[in-house]
């Protein structure tokens, strides 16, 4: 059986990849994909914990996370589309009319 730590390290690695993607990438859709990667990294942790604790709460939370991620994807892509209609770009460096 694979020890718990392996799952947790993989999950932490995926989460870091997601955070790095959000910080480094400039395309709004790629940033959004990186956020989804973060959420799925958390799902992996939750399932691993759930399995090793012998408790179903973690797996139940994973379902909630998936539902929320789907709702966020629907809203997020709609926002990106309405922005693209007005400005023909999804590069977040070019989206800068609000400034102090």
């Amino acid at each position: 059986m694979i020890p718990l730590n392996h799952y947790l390290l993989l999950s932490a690695f995926l989460f870091s990849c997601g955070v790095l993607g959000v910080v480094v990438r400039r395309n709004a859709i790629v940033v959004f994909m990186s956020i989804e990667l973060m959420l799925n990294a958390v799902n992996l942790s939750l399932i691993a914990f759930s399995q090793f604790l012998g408790d179903a709460t973690g797996q139940m939370l994973v379902f909630f996370v998936m539902v929320v991620a789907a709702a966020e994807a629907a809203v997020g892509l709609a926002i990106i589309i309405s922005l693209f209609r007005n400005k023909q770009t999804v590069n977040i460096d070019e989206i800068n009319i609000l400034k102090w």
Binding site: T57, F64, V68, E72, I79, I92, I97, L98
Partner: protein
């Protein structure tokens, strides 16, 4: 095995009532022609019904759905606050949207949907419900921020809010996962009993740190505040009014419940981290507020600073601090709704008329309106006899009680900065000549709401016991 009992349904009746009415409103929006007005009235009825349910459940002190939701007391108190805020923001929004020719029923439905999330947040006894509440609230907010589909500033504000909001959700969720892994439960009532064993585990503390980041984003604390000025400026004014009052109050209500767990152990490290967040929010919020020319943006920075004041109460880790936060949320909600109501009335199409200059000479043109705006600014500054003063007093007093005197002194110093930019509005209104002589048309509905807000801050400022007596049964 019994999954739920009738008492669970009664206990969660505010959420259920509001959910039912928001679905009815959504249907009415699809089926009725020119439905915006109909949907508005359905929303008002739905919110009033939910307020009734929340008041009915106030005296209960229980949990519902296998300890997932709190019932009565704290949950009902905050439910009434969120619903009143939602009602007021609807009343501000209707004339505003009619004038902007963006009056659609979806607006009211979205406000109700986000209020459902707030009700869940205020009632969360489990990290799962806190997470769901935050998401239900935020997803509706993302749409509301981008409500002006054709306007680039609104699109931009929605995109920034969405990307950073979803990013912070990732951290919150990772924190929940780590706490679940180290304690074997996500239920806050059970984590309390597990906490002494998990206490020494660094993974557990990292979990709380990640949850702190997640909530820090939602309450707009420095250094997680980058989205606030842009989102508050770009979103339609009634939406900003609702986000900055209801959204902040909801995030804080869950923040207080969640952090009462580690704070009950008087964990020095965590208290220090929260204290530093509070200090930096107060400093940077007020500092950047000084240089703003746009009132909506100024109130955005002020909202960051006010998050800092409330974090002082959290850092103190006492029930006095929690009561201070609760009172402050009420007073801040009334004050900010009133101020944004006035801004919404004076704003012109396409976001014009939002700078200090546009308020010059308002006292001569509309003395009543100027007096009301001055009251709200005084309350935000924290000048007696307005509610803002009492709230600040309790928060700083709680810090002194927990040996965080430096934080209290720091808070008072930074609120001195804020006097400059709040009173600047008053100076412009009373001591500058008007440059603009167009006639000001005041929509009755908004004006009435603003007056109610003003009466509220006076009443709670002079008789704070009205709120504190209610709180006795909560903490």
């Amino acid at each position: 095995m019994e999954f739920f009992s009738p008492s669970d349904l009664i206990g969660s009746s505010p959420i259920l009532a509001l959910s039912a009415f928001s679905l009815i409103a959504l249907l009415a929006n699809a089926l009725v022609k020119n439905s915006a007005k109909t949907v508005f009235y359905i929303s008002v009825v739905g919110i009033l019904a939910a307020i009734g349910c929340a008041m009915y459940t106030f005296s209960m002190n229980a949990t519902a759905f296998s300890d997932m939701l709190l019932v009565g007391g704290y949950a009902s108190f905050f439910a009434v606050l969120f619903l009143v805020v939602a009602l007021f923001s609807l009343c501000i929004a209707k004339p505003y949207l009619e004038r902007e020719q963006y009056h659609f029923g979806e607006y009211y439905v979205l406000i109700m949907l986000s209020t459902i999330g707030m009700l869940m947040l205020g009632a969360s006894a489990d990290l799962i419900t806190a997470f769901l509440g935050i998401e239900v609230m935020s997803v509706a907010f993302y749409v509301l921020a981008g409500y002006y589909r054709g306007k680039l500033s609104s699109n931009e504000s929605a995109l920034k809010y969405f990307l950073l909001g979803a990013f912070s959700t990732g951290f919150l969720l990772y924190g929940i996962a780590l706490i679940y892994g180290t304690t074997g439960t996500t239920n806050l009532l059970r984590i309390v009993t597990m906490y002494p064993q998990a206490f020494g585990d660094p993974v557990h503390i990292i979990g709380w740190g990640l949850i702190l980041i997640g909530f820090g984003f939602k309450v707009a604390a420095v250094p997680f505040h980058m989205w606030v000025p842009d989102v508050y400026e770009g979103a339609p004014t009634p939406v900003t009014a609702f986000m900055s009052t209801g959204g902040k109050a909801a995030a804080f209500s869950a923040f207080v419940i969640a952090f009462s767990v580690p704070m009950s152990m008087k964990d020095e490290r965590l208290m220090l981290v929260v204290a530093v967040l509070a200090a930096s929010s107060m400093l940077l919020g007020n500092w950047f507020g000084l240089s703003q020319l746009n009132l909506k943006r100024m109130l955005a920075y002020s909202s960051i600073a006010h998050a800092g004041y409330m974090l002082v109460g959290l850092a103190s880790a006492t029930s006095l601090g929690q009561q201070g936060i609760t009172f402050y949320l009420v007073s801040y909600a009334f004050t900010n709704l009133g101020a944004f109501g006035i801004i919404a009335m004076l704003e012109k199409v396409n976001g014009a008329n939002l700078s200090y200059e546009d308020y010059a000479g308002l006292a001569k043109r509309r003395p009543g309106l100027a007096a009301l705006m001055a009251m709200f600014m005084f309350s935000l500054t924290g000048i007696p006899p307005f509610a803002g003063f009492v709230g600040k007093y309790y928060l700083f007093a709680s810090a002194v009680h927990s040996n965080l005197t430096w934080l209290a002194i720091f808070g008072v110093m930074t609120s001195l900065f804020s006097t400059y930019y709040y009173l600047r509005v008053v100076v412009y209104m009373y001591f500058r000549e008007a440059t603009n002589t167009e006639e000001i048309i005041l929509p009755k509905l908004t004006f009435a709401t603003v007056i109610v807000c003003a009466v509220g801050i006076l009443l709670f400022g002079i008789f704070p016991a009205l709120i504190f007596d209610l709180m006795k049964s909560m903490f």
